[in-house]
């Protein structure tokens, strides 16, 4: 076993430190007025952090270093957590990579720093193995969320940020109350293992209340049906690059925590082994989660159909997509995890290409109809947006398909056929609005140029910000087609759950 591989196996906090360091350095450069340098610093740090995590995820397990190396109640490496971390850091890198044109000059580096710090908080959130750590990182992620929405700098973004904040505050209060019940009343300490024993001592209803409160807090952050109200406004008004990270990076982190906490810790598969008595007191959880998932799929898809603005439509489709993730949550195979990753790349690619299109077509009002003919004028950005739309629908040859297939397979393993069918019908309805975007990109004639503009100069005003969208699109297609040949064992490598 080469030396570098052993060291790599135990990188622990290195990626987080690199990212945080990059953020601080960026801020310093910004103070000196060097905005471009600041941005480059932050994105370089994020890139390095993500590559570290990817390397750690791909490197085979080393027997003596336990797969779950717990560093102060936070699992940073090993079976899947580094895979998650890679996704979060890489998406942060892509968001910052766009140069955050849509954010005002003054706070551009600030937003970049926030994204970097947000990624750190996200990694910790995913790896949290202790309720206190979970709570603090969750709130850190929430704060980053408020700031990213407010970074839009328009009256509308302020309004959306205010509403998002109010709801966040109420959710935090609920979370604290949850802590009070689970840690306080249970008395088992904040670690997950202690928590479970503590819950066992509680009466059935109290245990249910505790877990439900924790579930609500996480459910709010991932934007599932009853707690979704903030998502559409936030995505519509936030600057597209910031929204890209908000919708993908932070949501994946919250989803990872949700899956690990609710799916695994309280999930039937694990719990029945550890503590059968608690397992059947918490049995209603799986039904609640299935209910939430169905409600979000139905609500998200239906309302998205009505939207005219692309970002707002993506907001609603985000609600539906999280619904799909919850379908396979309590199954053994990493269905929900893989779905979270593929969804993140899909929605990130969408927002990044919107960012590129917005900077290339300033007069575009963000509406679907406004995109008419964009396929001809800005082929690269349009291609990325089309790929993201296909991936979000779950059309084969895109990564989205494998995510959905495995999520539904998980759902079937959990005997939830009715939910899988709702999910499938939902993804069919989803082509109603995703397809409309593709149709207006490629098929509709652009109004002012008219059908006969013929082969206009293909280059068009191709701004520098389009390369992140392209990178994301390429990854989507790569992870869509490679499994066709090699089969799905790459999933177990990256997401070893």
């Amino acid at each position: 076993m080469p030396v570098w591989m052993i060291n790599l196996a135990d990188i622990g906090w290195l990626p987080a430190a690199v990212a945080a360091g990059g953020a601080v350095l960026g801020m310093v450069a910004d103070m000196g007025g060097r905005v471009r340098l600041g941005l480059r610093l932050v994105s370089a740090a994020l890139l390095f952090a993500s590559l570290l995590c990817l390397a750690r995820a791909v490197v085979p397990e080393i027997p003596d270093v336990s797969s779950v190396t717990q560093v102060f109640d936070v699992i940073l490496i090993g079976n899947g957590f580094s895979g998650y971390a890679f996704v979060i850091y890489f998406l942060g890198f892509l968001s910052v990579g766009t140069g955050l044109i849509s954010v005002r000059e003054a706070s551009r580096v600030g937003v970049a720093a926030l994204i970097a710090l947000g990624s750190v908080a996200g990694q910790v959130l995913v790896g949290a193995f202790d309720l206190a750590v979970l709570f603090v990182s969750l709130e850190a992620v929430a704060l980053v969320g408020y700031a990213l929405v407010a970074a839009g700098g328009t009256d509308r973004s302020d309004e959306a940020a205010a509403r998002y904040f109010v709801q966040g505050a109420v959710a935090t209060a609920l979370t604290v109350y949850g802590l009070a019940v689970v840690v306080g009343l249970g008395g088992g300490g904040t670690g997950f293992s202690g928590m479970l024993d503590g819950l066992a001592t509680l009466g059935p209803q109290a245990a249910l209340l505790g877990t439900m409160l924790l579930l609500t807090s996480l459910a709010f952050k991932i934007g599932v049906f009853p707690f979704h109200s903030w998502a559409p406004d936030a995505y519509e008004t936030a600057p597209p690059a910031a929204a890209a990270f908000l919708a993908s990076g932070l949501k994946v982190a919250a989803l990872g925590a949700f899956i690990f906490l609710i799916g695994r810790a309280f999930g039937p598969a694990v719990l029945s082994g550890l503590n059968p008595a608690l397992a059947d007191t918490l049995a209603p959880l799986t039904v609640i989660i299935a209910g939430i998932s169905a409600a979000s799929i139905i609500f998200g898809n239906l309302v998205a159909l009505k939207q005219t603005s692309v970002s707002r439509m993506l907001g609603y489709s985000g609600i539906a997509q999280v619904g799909y993730a919850l379908v396979g949550i309590s199954a053994v195979i990493p269905g929900a995890t893989l779905f979270a990753a593929t969804y993140a790349f899909g929605v990130a690619c969408a927002f990044l290409s919107i960012e590129a299109l917005q900077s290339a077509m300033p007069e575009w009002d963000g509406s679907v109809a406004g995109l008419a003919g964009a396929g001809r004028k800005h082929p690269v950005a349009a291609f990325a947006l089309a790929v993201s739309m296909l991936s979000l629908t779950g059309i084969p040859l895109t990564a989205g398909f494998w995510g959905k297939a495995l999520a539904f397979l998980g759902g079937l393993e959990a005997e939830l056929l009715w939910l899988v069918i709702i999910g499938v019908v939902g993804s069919v309805v989803s082509f109603g609005y995703y397809g409309r975007v593709i149709r207006s990109l490629y098929i509709d004639a652009s109004q002012e140029a008219g059908e006969s503009d013929g082969e206009e100069s293909v280059a068009g005003s191709q701004s520098a910000t389009v390369w992140p969208a392209v990178v994301a699109a390429i990854i989507i297609i790569a992870f869509g087609t490679i499994p066709m040949v090699t089969g799905l064992d790459w999933v177990s490598i990256v997401f070893g759950m």
Binding site: A20, A23, M27, V71, F72, D73, V74, V103, R104, A106, S107, G110, V111, A113, L114, L117, G118, V120, A121, V124, D130, A132, V133, V136, S137, E139, A140, L143, V144, Y146, A147, A150, A151, G152, G153, D158, A161, Y177, V181, L185, T190, L202, G203, Q205, A206, L208, L209
Partner: protein, 163 residues
């Protein structure tokens, strides 16, 4: 009625009085006073449970910091049109939801909570050992969170176009 219960009752009264003040007043200053009273009540509670450091932290952070911040905010927000009259849409729906949530909490936790008399807690060992020992990570993370809050405020305030 031992001394402890009197202390508990005092702190509780302070909390409830302050909360009601916040909920019902029409005048903004009375709202701030109410909030101050509530926070003092909370500090009292911490004292009652024997967490002296916590009570002092509460007083410093909240009563000192947050209230002053709030006053500044009120002054900034209502600079133009004098002292605003605070109205509130007291509708039944909101009351129902509030009562529903608290009722739900109460009903579910009723069994697993002991007798009426509040037991005073044990002060426990030095907090620094705990903070820098077992939950060092949480401590660091709190620091990180504050950094994030700082950057966030900078971004939020700095982001808007200058009118």
């Amino acid at each position: 009625m031992s001394l402890d219960t009197v202390a508990f009752a005092l702190a509780a009264a302070l909390m409830v009085g302050g909360a009601l003040g916040v909920a019902l007043t029409k005048d903004v200053m009375r709202l701030v006073v109410g909030l101050g009273a509530f926070l003092l009540g909370v500090a009292g509670m911490f004292l009652y449970y024997g967490h002296a450091f916590l009570a002092t932290a509460q007083v410093f952070v909240y009563v000192g910091g947050v209230l002053v911040l709030m006053i500044f905010a009120i002054m900034v927000v209502h600079r133009a049109n004098g002292r605003p009259v605070l109205e509130a849409r007291h509708d039944i729906g909101a009351a129902a939801i509030g009562a529903g949530v608290s009722g739900m909490l109460f009903m579910t936790l009723r069994e697993s909570v002991g007798g009426w008399l509040p037991q005073s807690g044990t002060p426990g060992g030095p907090i620094a050992v705990e903070l820098l020992g077992r939950s060092i990570v949480v401590f660091e993370l709190a620091g990180g969170l504050l950094l994030i809050a700082l950057v966030a405020v900078l971004v939020i305030v700095g982001a808007g176009e200058r009118r």
